[in-house]
Symmetry: C2
Subunit: 506 residues, 2 copies
C-alpha cells in the first residue's frame, strides 16, 4: 500500500477546495450585481447562504483541525519559512473560528441581514429611531464577539481592535491615533484655504455614454487589460472581484451628468484588480494558501487610489486625455487642459463620504472611527448618535447635515455590523502617498512618466515591489519594507499641499 | 419535545437544497458562456466538477434513500395522487442511481471529457481515425451502463431505449419506427419538389448589429419578456437556462451576413424559456419536486420550434416585420413581403444538421437514430461509421459529404456519449405541429391571430393547456391529453405540404 500523502499536501488540497467554494460565491455575487433579474434575488440569497454554510463548516470542522495539526506536527527545522508562516496564519484563523459560539455566529448573521433591511427602510424614510434597535443589537452582538475572540488573540487587544483585525491585521488604536492626529490637525486648514478660493461646483455635463464606454476601454487597454483574463461589465455600484486565479472582473457604471464618474471608477477598480492579478500565485503554490492573499483592506485601497487619484486625477494625465473627452461634446465646457484638470479635482467639502474629495475624505473617516470607539468601547448611547454625528461634522468639516439620511444613515457598514472597517479607507490614502514617494525616489517624478504615456513603468514598479508580497507582511510592514520608513501621514499631507498649490495657481 | 416534521416535508427540504446546488451550476454555466474570460476555464471546470460531485452524493446517499423510504411509508389512502406520483418518480430515479457501479460513473465522466477533447482535434483535422478509439470506448461504457440500468427499468427495454429514457421518458423503438417511417417515406418527395424549383441561396446581407439587437428586444417585449424575471445576454451559441424559480436567462448572437439568425434564435430560445416559466411552480409546492419539471426534451423542443418555425417563420409574421428589417438597409434586398417571407424559409437540403431547413431536418435525425441503433445494439463497427454515414446521406438527402468534418464528425453529441438524444429534436417538430392543429381547432387559424398581432392568445393557449402539465404526463401522454389523439407524423407532414405549396406559389 502506498504511504498516505504528506499532511501538508492534503492540507493544500483541502484549501484548494475551500477556495473553489469561496470563488463560486464570488461568481454568483458578480452575476447578481451585473445581470441577475431582480426577481432572482430571494433564490440567490438561498444559494449564497448555502455556500456560506458549506464554507463555514469546512473552515471550522474537526477534520480540518486534525489535518492542520498533522501538518504542524510534520514541520521541522528544514521546513521552508513560508510553509511555517502559512500554518501560523491558518492556526490563527482557526483559533478565531473555534473561539466563537456557533449560536453567536448565527445570531450575528441574522442581525446583519435584518440590520440591512431596517437601514434601507430607515434611510428611505429618514427615520433613525426605527433603525436604532437594530443597531443596538448589532453593537451588543459585536461586543460579545470581541469578548469571545479575545482569548484567540496573540496579544492583548481592545474590543474595537479585535473587530478590526480581519480588515487590517495588527492595527491598534495607538497607531491610528498617531496617523490620524496630523490629519485632524492639518486638513481643516487646507480645507479653509480651498473654501476661500474655490470655484462653484461645475454644471452637469452629459458626455455621450458610448464615448464614456470607449474611454474606459481605452484606459484599460493602455493599463494592461487582457481580455483573456479579465472582464468588465456594468453594475449599479462599481466593484472589482476575483472569480478564479486567472479570472478577474471589474464593473463600472455611467452616471448621467457626470463625465468623469465611469472613467475614474474604472481607474479605481482596475487598481484593485491589478493588485489581485499581481498577488503571488505562481503555479499551485500560493493561491490556496493564505500567503497568497491580499494583506489588508488598507493596502488594497492604496492600489486603487494610486491609479485613481495619483495617476488619473493628475495634471499630466488630464493633459493627455483632455482632447478625447472634449471630442464628444459640441461645446467644450473646459476650454483648456488646466481647467479640465481642475474639473477632475472638484475640491469642495460635502456631507457624503463616497462623494468626498481628496482633502476632506479622511476627515469623514476620522469622524466614523471616533464614533465607533464611542459606540463599541465608550458610553455613547445609540439614541445620541445622530446628534453626536452632526456636532462632529460641524467641527471637522464646518457642515451640518439637514437630515440623518445625509448624516449617520448614509453608509451601509454599521447596518451590517461592520465596525473596524472604515479606517482602512484612510490608510489607503496614506499608504498610496507613501508608496508614491518611494516610487519617485527610484523612477523620478510620476508626473513625468505619465506625461510620457509611460504608466507601464509605474505598474512595473508596483508589480515588482508591492504585489508579490501577498500576506507575508501586514500593511505597516509593507510600507516599512518597500519605503524603508515607518507609515505616516506626512507623505499624504505633502502630496495634498503640493497639489492644492498647483490647482490654486490655475 | 416537538415531534419531528413529517418525512414528506423533510424530503421537500432536501429536494429544495438539491435544486439550490443544481441551480448554482446553471448560474456558473451561464456566466461561463456569456462573460467569463477564456483563462477562467480550468478553474471553472474544477468548480463545476465539485458541484457535480456534491450533487451526485446528495442524490445517491444512504441518508436520502432512508428519507425517501420514510416518506413512502407515510403514504396512505388519503395521500394526494400528486404526492404519490412525485415519490414514484423519485424512487425510479434513485433506483437508476443505485443500479450504477460508481466506478462506471467515474469512467464515463472521464471518457466523456476525453471524448470531447479528441473530437475537437479530430474535427479540426478532419481525422475520424484519431477519434474512433474514444468513440469505441464511449459505446462500450454506455452499453455497460444500459446493462446495469436494465434491472432498474419498470418494463423490459432495449439498451438504446434505456439510454434514451432521461431525454424522452417511456420512448420505444417501436414508437419511433411508427413516427419516423412516414417521414422517411414522404420527406424525400417534398425535397425533390423543392429541388426542382428552388431559387439559389440568397447572398449574405449585413443587417446592422444594433438593429438586430433592437429587433430581438422588440420581439421579446411583444412576447411577454419581463425584465424583472428575465435576462438576455450574448453568447457564442444561443441557449436558454433557468437559474432559479424566478430567474430565466436566454442568450443570442449576431452572425455577420445572416440577417435572421439572431432574430429566429431569439424566438427559439424564448420558446424554451416560456415553457420553463410556465411550468407548475406555484408557491414552494412544485419547484423542488419532479412533477414541476419539464417532461421531455421533445416537448421542450416543441415549444421552441412553435415560436421559431410556426410563428416567426410564418407568412403573416413576415408581413408584419418586413418593414422593420427593411428599414435598416439602404437597398431593400427583398422588394416585397412575400419575398421577405421566402428569405426567412430557405428550403435547400444541406450537409449540416444545425443549418437544416424544416423539410430536411428530420431526415438528419432519422439518419443519426438508425446509426445509433447500429452502433449500440447492432454490429456496425466504429471504423465503418464514416462510410455508412455517407451512404445514408446520399440515400436520404441526395448529398455526399466531401469530408467527415461535414459528415459524421459534425455533432458533439456522440463525442460526449450522448446516445438516445437526437430523436427528441424530431419529436419536437411533430409535437409542435400536432399541438398547433389542436390550437387551431380552438382558436382558429394561427396565421389569422398573428396577422392581428395577437400572439398573446397563442401564448395563453399554451400557458393554459401545455405548460402546467409539467412532468405529470410524458410527451406522448401530453399530446393525447391536449389534442385528444395519438402523437403522429401526419400533422407535421400536412403543415409542411401546405407551407411548401404557398412558398412555391410566390
Amino acid at each position: 500500500m502506498a504511504a498516505p500523502a504528506p499532511a501538508h499536501q492534503r492540507l493544500g488540497d483541502h484549501l484548494h477546495q475551500t477556495r473553489l467554494w469561496g470563488s463560486i460565491s464570488s461568481a454568483l455575487y458578480y452575476d447578481q450585481n451585473t445581470v441577475m433579474p431582480p426577481a432572482g434575488a430571494p433564490w440567490r440569497g438561498d444559494q449564497l447562504a448555502l455556500l456560506a454554510k458549506q464554507l463555514h463548516e469546512r473552515q471550522s470542522s474537526a477534520a480540518y483541525a486534525d489535518l492542520l495539526a498533522e501538518a504542524e506536527a510534520e514541520l521541522d527545522g528544514a521546513s521552508a519559512p513560508e510553509a511555517v508562516h502559512n500554518l501560523q496564519l491558518l492556526r490563527q484563523e482557526l483559533r478565531r473560528q473555534q473561539a466563537l459560539d456557533p449560536d453567536l455566529v448565527a445570531a450575528l448573521a441574522q442581525a446583519q441581514s435584518s440590520g440591512n433591511a431596517r437601514w434601507q427602510d430607515a434611510r428611505r424614510q429618514d427615520d433613525f429611531a426605527s433603525f436604532a434597535p437594530a443597531l443596538e443589537r448589532l453593537i451588543q452582538l459585536r461586543r460579545q464577539q470581541a469578548s469571545q475572540l479575545a482569548s484567540a488573540e496573540p496579544v492583548q487587544r481592545s474590543p474595537w481592535e479585535i473587530l478590526a483585525q480581519p480588515y487590517e491585521p495588527a492595527i491598534s488604536k495607538t497607531r491610528l491615533e498617531d496617523l490620524f492626529t496630523p490629519l485632524k490637525a492639518q486638513l481643516p486648514a487646507l480645507l479653509e484655504q480651498v473654501r476661500a478660493t474655490s470655484t462653484p461646483h461645475p454644471a452637469a455635463i452629459d458626455l455621450p455614454e458610448a464615448l464614456q464606454e470607449q474611454l474606459c476601454s481605452e484606459l484599460l487597454n493602455r493599463w494592461g487589460y487582457d481580455p483573456a483574463h479579465c472582464q468588465r461589465s456594468r453594475s449599479a455600484h462599481p466593484f472589482s472581484c476575483t472569480v478564479g486565479p486567472q479570472d478577474f472582473r471589474i464593473t463600472t457604471r455611467v452616471v448621467p451628468g457626470q463625465p468623469f464618474s465611469a472613467f475614474l471608477a474604472t481607474a479605481h477598480e482596475w487598481g484593485h484588480s491589478l493588485y489581485e492579478q499581481g498577488l503571488p500565485r505562481s503555479g499551485d503554490h500560493y493561491f490556496p494558501w493564505p500567503l497568497g492573499d491580499a494583506t489588508s483592506m488598507g493596502v488594497h485601497e492604496s492600489q486603487s487610489l494610486f491609479w485613481e487619484c495619483r495617476v488619473a486625477r493628475g495634471e499630466a494625465f488630464a493633459g493627455r486625455w483632455y482632447p478625447r473627452f472634449r471630442s464628444g461634446l459640441a461645446d467644450d465646457p473646459w476650454g483648456e487642459p488646466q481647467r479640465f484638470w481642475r474639473a477632475l479635482n472638484p475640491l469642495q467639502p460635502g456631507l457624503i463620504r463616497v462623494e468626498a474629495d481628496e482633502l476632506s475624505y479622511c476627515l469623514h473617516i476620522v469622524l466614523r472611527y471616533e464614533l465607533e470607539l464611542a459606540l463599541i468601547e465608550g458610553d455613547l448611547p445609540v439614541a445620541e448618535l445622530p446628534g453626536e454625528w452632526n456636532q462632529r461634522m460641524r467641527s471637522l468639516l464646518g457642515l451640518v447635515p439637514p437630515s440623518d439620511r445625509e448624516g449617520c444613515l448614509q453608509d451601509i457598514h454599521w447596518a451590517e455590523g461592520l465596525f473596524g472597517y472604515f479606517p482602512s479607507y484612510a490608510l489607503g490614502h496614506l499608504i498610496s502617498a507613501q508608496l508614491a514617494e518611494a516610487m519617485e525616489r527610484q523612477l523620478g517624478p510620476i508626473e513625468q512618466r505619465v506625461a510620457e504615456a509611460d504608466e507601464a513603468s509605474l505598474r512595473g514598479w508596483l508589480a515588482g515591489q508591492v504585489w508579490p508580497l501577498g500576506h507575508r507582511v501586514n500593511g505597516e510592514e509593507l510600507v516599512q519594507q518597500v519605503c524603508g520608513e515607518r507609515l505616516s501621514a506626512a507623505p499624504f499631507l505633502r502630496y495634498l499641499e503640493a497639489k492644492l498649490a498647483r490647482l490654486q495657481a490655475i
